[in-house]
Structures are given as C-alpha cells and as structure tokens.
C-alpha cells in the first residue's frame, strides 16, 4: 500500500573546490584542515568592514569546466549576490553567493547527469563561499550554551549544484552522487575523499505531502539514509491521515533520524541583492571555448575506452571509473599485467570490497600500482593461490608491504607438489575413513575433503588441483 506513494527527491549538493590553492575571494591558503583555529584568516574572510573581495580566477575556470561537463547553459556575465542571514558562522551577516533573480543569474543552468538511460536534470550551479566552522562545546547544537567559531573555513570556494526533483529513491540518489563525484574528480575540481568536502541538502516529498528540506547532510551514504528515513516517516504520516508540512529538518547522523528545526526561511527572507563589492564580469564565448579545450576525459567516455581498450566488461569498467583513484590504479598496473579482466576483478571484488567493508577510503590505502602488479604476477605464476592473495591484501593496504615480502616471511607459497597433496589426502581419509563410501554416493562430499586439505596446508594448496587429485584417487 505504502509503495503507491511515490517519493520525489531533489538535491542541493555543496562541494569544495579542493584544487584551489587559495580561498574564493582572498589569498589565504585554502588548505585549512588540521590548522589551529583562526590561523588562516584575513580581513576579507573575517568579514571586517571595508575589506574588498576579489574573485579567484581559477575558481571561475573550474566552475565553467563543471558547467560544460554537465551540459549547462553558461551565463553571459558573472554576478554575485549577497544572501543575508544572522548566524555566528558568517561575520559580515551575508554570504557571497549567486542568485537567479531579476537582472542577476547563476553561473550555469539547465544541465543533466545521466545514470544510464535515466536523466537527472541540473537546475543550476552557483559559485559561493563557505561559512566559518561552528564547534559546539558539548558536542551538540541543542545543548551548547555558546558556539566556538573557527574562521579558517570561511571563504573556501564552493560550488552548489542543484538538481530538479527527478530522483525517485535512495539508491538512485546514491548513484547520482557517485556519478557526480566521479565527474568532479576527473575534472580535478573536488577531492571528495576529504572529510566534509561534499555535503548536501535533501529536498524530499511524498505524493500528497509538502516538501521537506533536510539540511547539511555530510556524505553520500548519509543522503541515502536520510531519504530512507524521511520517505518512511512521511509515508507513515500520510497513511495515518496526517499532514506532512513544509519544513526544514536536520539530520542527526549519530541517532540516524531527522529532527525538525524551528527556523523557516523563504528566499525573500534572505534579502538577496547584487553584491556592490563585486562588479559583473563578462564571460566571453572565447573564454568558454578555451576552457572547453582543456576538458579532460570524463567518466562516460572513460568507461567506453576502458572496456574497449582492455576488453573488460562494461560493469567492471563502470565500477572502476566511479572511483577515479581505482581506475587510475587499474590503468597504471595494466602496463605490466596481461590478464586485464582478472586484474579488474581483483581490484573490484577483493581490493575495493575489503576497503568498503571497513568504511575506509581508497585514499587510506597504501597499495601502489607496484604492489598490485607484483600481487598479480605471484598469482599468474602460480606462486600463491587466490585465497592467499585475499589473505595478504589487508597487509598490503594497511602497511604498504610488498606482496613478495609478505609471502616469503609467512611461507605462503602455493603447494602444487602432487605427491605432497596426495599424502595429505591420505591423512584426511585415515582420519575419517567413512568419507570414501560417502563420496561415492554423493560427489559433493569431495568439496568437504578439499576443505580439509586446504586447512591442513594453511590454504596454500591449489584447490583445483586438490579437487582433481581427490576425484582421481577415489574414482569419483
């Protein structure tokens, strides 16, 4: 019954332009992470009276690159607006942003991100500055008697990318964000592995209800959780005959719930007007053409190329490219590896999965192309089994030790000596003689014997060979 109530989701994605060396409107270094509070600030990003903002030219170039990659219309003139609100994280009481209104426009409009055949329309892209970071002394916004402010983040360049409400479920939202993240990484706009570099406001409504906005969700997987939570909450309300009101909610990522916040602000309340400190700047066709020429290979064409050039499946190519670092690792290792499909399988099914299962990031891994090449060579030459490869992967990822070294130290080389394996099979049968008759009735029992032999050899025996020898010996 509840499944008849469709959900509609639109996202406002905020991404830091992490490739910039300085902030958006001043020359303070943009690398603010792990610095002492308020040690990376100047009159402009502190919002002191009289300080004049001047736009970072590289920020404009990156914004145009994103606009081109998402197939947007680009505004003929760059204009900034002041978005007013009183909050301790914004000392000058307005954020420099862009606004689509009379005489002023966002830098780009009307683009799209394609998820296979499904089109997610992009409404607009804004360039804007990040506010300061608020630290709550009790750890919670609700119980803190005051706010601690660190302006190091204030003025960091961001893009706000707004979709139309074309997303229909949590999974699709996750796919959209993965694709967007890959595009931004290929454009060298945002290294999304940096904590907090990609945040989103989630607008979600269920048939028959009003739109609810969940503010400031910290990661793509949290976005998925928000949509699942909110669609269940809103559906339940509607099925009970209650109204879903238009409101703003906050995501509590510890308790995994959304909480209503009392503030209700409309566009008018922000009192947008063109920022007199930043005169309009024409964006010429020639300039756009020049930026276009510098566009790198984007995810869709890279997927095509990988599957053609290396003959790997489209699925594997897609998984690789959705994490630019993984695709880079694949291509770097492929120079010295022959079996590309096996390489891609190892990277996806073993390497990536191990990292994902532990909620780690690819950037946390110490494995380099050299490690992966050597691991593949050990596998290909039969020195180790796939089971051993899986077993030593964590040591490679966490410690950056070379595979050969680990194998030698732990004596994990593959046992392929037929005589030795036969002796071990004998041992197993001596321990459990009934296996001989059992296996003749049910050939599947052979797998059980293989397991026993593997255990006795510390997983070093080649399972295929063991299987073959058992069947030969017992005449199955």
């Amino acid at each position: 019954m509840s499944s008849e109530l469709k959900i509609k989701v639109g996202l406002e994605v905020h991404v830091h332009i992490t490739s910039l060396k300085t902030k958006l409107f001043c020359s303070c270094p943009s690398n603010y992470v792990n610095l002492d509070p308020n040690s990376d600030v100047c009159p402009v990003c502190l919002g002191l009276p009289g300080a004049i903002p001047v736009l970072n030219e590289e920020a404009l170039r990156k914004a145009i690159m994103v606009a081109l990659a998402l197939g947007c219309d680009i505004a003929p003139s760059l204009m900034f607006s002041r978005k007013h609100y009183f909050y301790p994280d914004m000392a000058k009481n307005y954020q420099i942003s862009q606004y689509d209104g009379p005489g002023t426009a966002a830098i780009a409009k009307n683009g799209a991100v394609w998820l296979g055949e499904k089109k997610i329309r992009i409404r607009r892209i804004n360039i804007e500055e990040d506010p300061a970071k608020s630290v709550y002394p009790t750890g919670s916004i609700l119980t803190s008697p005051y706010t601690l402010l660190d302006y190091n983040r204030s003025g960091i360049g961001m893009l706000e990318i707004v979709t139309e409400p074309d997303i229909e479920d949590a999974k699709e939202a996750k796919s959209f964000l993965d694709k967007l993240k890959s595009i931004l990484e290929h454009l060298d706009v945002c290294d999304c592995s940096i904590e907090g570099s990609m945040r989103a406001d989630v607008n979600i409504s269920v048939t028959g209800g009003e739109r609810v906005e969940v503010k400031n969700v910290g990661s793509p997987s949290d976005v998925k959780d928000v949509i699942e939570y909110e669609s269940a909450r809103q559906r339940a309300a509607i099925l009970q005959g209650l109204k879903v009101q238009r409101e703003t909610r906050h995501w509590d990522s510890d308790r995994k719930v959304t909480v209503s916040s009392r503030v209700k602000e409309t566009d008018e309340d922000y009192r947008y007007f063109p920022d007199p400190d930043l005169p309009p700047l024409p964006i010429t066709k020639e300039y756009i053409e020049r930026v276009k020429e510098t566009l790198p290979e984007l995810p869709d064409s890279r997927i095509e190329r990988l599957s053609k050039q290396y003959g790997i499946s489209k699925y594997n190519a897609t998984v690789l490219v959705m994490d630019k670092a993984l695709a880079d690792l694949f291509e770097a290792a492929s120079a010295e590896v022959k079996d590309y499909e096996r390489l891609s399988n190892l990277l996806i099914n073993d390497y990536l999965r191990w990292i994902n299962d532990r909620n780690m990031k690819l950037s946390d891994s110490k494995a380099t192309p050299k490690h992966i090449v050597q691991l593949m060579q050990l596998l290909d030459s039969g020195v180790i089994t796939i089971k051993i490869a899986k077993e030593i992967l964590p040591t490679i990822i966490l410690e950056g030790k070379m595979p050969r070294e680990i194998v030698d130290e732990l004596g994990l080389t593959r046992v392929s000596d037929e005589k030795l394996i036969e002796t071990i099979i004998e041992e197993v049968i001596t321990e459990e003689p009934e296996l001989v008759t059992k296996v003749k009735k049910d050939p599947k029992v052979a797998n059980y014997i293989v397991g026993k032999v593997m255990r006795k050899t510390g997983k070093r025996a080649d399972p295929k060979l063991v299987n073959e020898l058992i069947r030969r010996k017992l005449g199955v």
């Binding site: 509070p37 736009l55 302006y151």
Partner: protein, 97 residues
C-alpha cells in the same frame, strides 16, 4: 509590486534584523517605510523597457591569481573579538535556547 506596510511586517523585519522596537518606534517605522516605498513606487512609474539594468558604476569586475599569501597572525586576527577561548571566537548559542 505593491507592499503594504503594517505592524506585522515591521515585526517580521525586526526578527530578520535581530532587533526589537518599542510600540512607538514601531509606529514611526511603519510611517517611514511607507514613505520610502512611495518614493520607489514613483520611480517604478518610469518606463525602462528598453534599458539594461545597471548594478554597478564600474563596467567590469576583476580576477585574482590563485597564489597564496600569508594570512594574519592569529593574535591579530582575533584581537577585536570580545570573547575568545583556545584561539576560537565565542559566539552565541544558535538554537535560541
């Protein structure tokens, strides 16, 4: 766009501007705002159909190279803050509680 100014609108503006007015001040402001808006309504009578809006007397903004410069020394940066703690500036609670 006609806006009618009444006490309710002024109350909303007070909350947006984080100030509170006395009843007398509020009555004064209603009068002032109405007069100001009347001036704008007069300006609105001009036909500007073929005129490009101008937002700035300077014709063109400028850009800056993406080259870092030293930020302010921290002591200087937070010198004017009334309340501070461990290098942070202390601001009000944001939940109105």
């Amino acid at each position: 766009m006609k806006v009618s100014v009444d006490e309710e609108l002024v109350r909303k503006l007070e909350s947006l501007a984080l100030i509170s007015l006395s009843p007398e001040e509020r009555r004064e402001i209603v009068k002032d705002l109405s007069r100001i808006l009347d001036f704008f309504n007069k300006i609105d009578e001009i036909n500007l159909e073929d005129v490009e809006p101008m937002f700035h007397p300077l014709s063109q903004g400028r850009l800056r190279k993406d080259q870092p410069r030293d930020p302010l020394p921290r002591d200087e940066a937070i010198k004017n803050a009334k309340k501070k703690k461990d290098g942070y500036i202390i601001g009000p609670s944001t939940t109105g509680g």
